[in-house]
Symmetry: C2
Subunit: 368 residues, 2 copies
């Protein structure tokens, strides 16, 4: 079984150890020869070009993804050509297009923030009027890590986007107390595996830290599992699904975003769960039995390494992190330091949350 | 930092996930294009050919090994050319040549079976006479997995070996109750990290199963740690060192064999220890701070997958193993099934040894 991964970022990179372990072959369609996943067998090409992608698909048994940017026409052409595309285009569109996602989740009766499609300043004005003068305007496509999202208090603040080609939606600015993420995996046969609910701590729109399991989640964890399982099943997702959620002051959950691939909020599973999200994703897309999602420690904390050391020396910073925290797992993505760039992450586990978080943060701080 | 691994077997293969994790680049000098480690960047060449090895060494920052078969003249020529060779030839010779190893350990006052070099039938006869008519005759070089080892009761039983080119030694046939293995890692600075002592269960001269930690080891574990630390330090080992030990009925330990690389008896560390032996080996050869060797479970059991399924279908067997044991880690080496060949291993962990061993054996049995 040979798995083709479209996209050569760190998510494809972290699938490599899982493929090595399971004895599955893997090949990457990378954006460039120095992509993070170019440590694996790869070809370099443009994932938007149908001929390139068809040629790549011909070299493998099943196609999956490092990102959700492959255009729908390309995905549908692959399916028409008989390629096993997992997740398939009709599922993936809900991770590509926020309007499609909001429509479908609303149809399914799942909890989402109030939302509406936006086509004019008047649409924004009306939505602002109905929601206390504040709204979150999003581009339906192309956003990630806080990009394509803008909090507005007047219609004119989204004027540039209204002039663009990308459809927009407005959502209520949810008064949430924290952000949570629920990972599940689903294989073609329908088998679903549910991970523990986690808390995702954001800074400036980017995930900074993940705590597994989400402290004090209780009943909310059951609700999150129900929501994610429903989405995976009803949308026919194959592979990992990450459901990003808001928890409100009154204990409700609202779905924020979907990702149909391994996700930053699941990196903790590499050391923290019996089966990592990367191995689980490969098992699911290869239609193999799913693995145990049980946690391996009482608490696991993952901290992203963002930007990298001021002196530019990853070698020095890595040595400092390993020396300071011999029991913390340090993951680097083979990416050059650049302000704000995710270049790695660290993971600690143990019985005492305060100690675990301290050790993870201390290891990450070695990269400042 | 780019690490060159000479040899493309499963040990080099299992270094790949560790290199991916730490952000270290790795390149393999493989025996063939379909070697187990050919999933990593590699060149194909003969490790006995100096020009080939020098050319390979020129592409990397440090050279290490998947096996101990690189000839001493090649190793010394690398050192003379300024290549960082870890472990170096003067350490590695003790894993290559059992006579050198026995001489040195005897000098160091470490416990070994009675032994003598053998050059003639009379030498064997004399050793048999002094040891109750039974001896273990070994070729000093080239043996592994039970090859190059023969139990003899008469001098004539080793006549073919006496006619050969390889020096021989005779050792007492130790009345041991079990075999143990002690892993340690040492980096150039001298830092040593000691793993828990494990029990290694052999079948027909091949490691079948490893139990970590060795049940009821107690004081013996301290002695094993002392022996292995002494060997690593006195011999100047860099990287992983595995010391295979006999435990005798009266509770003594005797050193059997040495390996200066990751070793089958340490595969349990991938899931069972905070830092795997493969990551530890890379840390040591890259002169990075060593990681924690703490176990992650009360008990870890590793079972080798030998030979492979009778119907030849690894895909079917893997799916059966994953379905039967969702919490057991299944590792396959990308090798075709063949009677007696190590093609993978499985690892289980938990609080109850009987349950852990049952689950590991059940997963391995799916490959019968």
């Amino acid at each position: 079984m040979k798995i083709g991964v479209i996209g050569g970022g760190q998510l494809a990179r972290m699938m490599v150890p899982a493929a090595v372990k399971l004895g599955l072959r893997l090949e990457v369609l990378a954006e460039s020869a120095d992509a993070s996943a170019s440590i694996a067998p790869h070809v370099v090409g443009d994932y938007r070009d149908l001929d390139t992608v068809l040629d790549f698909a011909g070299r493998v048994d099943v196609v999956t993804f490092d990102h959700e940017h492959v255009p729908q026409p390309v995905l549908h052409a692959l399916v028409a050509a008989g390629v096993a595309v997992r997740p398939g285009p009709d599922a993936l569109v809900h991770a590509q297009d926020k309007l499609e996602m909001r429509r479908r989740l609303t149809e399914l009766g799942l909890p989402v923030p109030d939302w509406t499609p936006i086509e004019s300043p008047a649409d924004i004005q009306a939505f602002l009027g109905a929601h206390g003068g504040i709204a979150v305007v999003k581009t339906a496509r192309g956003g990630y890590d806080g990009k394509g999202v803008r909090v507005v208090r007047a219609a004119g603040e989204a004027a540039d986007w209204l002039d663009g080609d990308v459809p927009l939606l407005a959502e209520e600015a949810v008064g949430f107390t924290r952000e949570l993420a629920q990972q599940v995996a689903r294989r073609p046969s329908g088998e679903v595996a549910v991970y523990p609910l986690v808390e995702s701590v954001q800074q400036a729109g980017v995930c900074a830290e993940v705590i597994a399991p989400a402290p004090g989640a209780g009943r909310v964890a059951q609700e999150a599992a129900r929501i994610a399982t429903t989405i995976a099943t009803e949308l026919g997702v194959v592979g990992m699904l990450a459901v990003e959620l808001f928890e409100t002051e009154d204990g409700r959950l609202l779905v924020n975003e979907l990702a149909m691939r391994p996700h930053n909020s699941g990196h903790w599973t590499i050391e923290g769960a019996v089966t990592s999200q990367f191995e689980q994703h490969l098992r699911a897309v290869a239609d193999l039995p799913l693995g145990s999602t049980d946690p391996r420690d009482d608490w696991t904390v993952m901290v992203n390494v963002l930007g990298g050391p001021a002196d530019g020396s990853l070698d020095r910073a890595r040595a400092a992190a390993l020396a300071a925290q011999p029991a913390v797992a340090v993951h680097l993505y083979g990416k050059a330091p650049r302000p704000g760039r995710k270049i790695g992450h660290v993971t600690a586990g143990g019985a005492d949350l305060e100690d675990v978080a301290y050790r993870a943060r201390a290891a990450a701080a070695a990269f400042d």
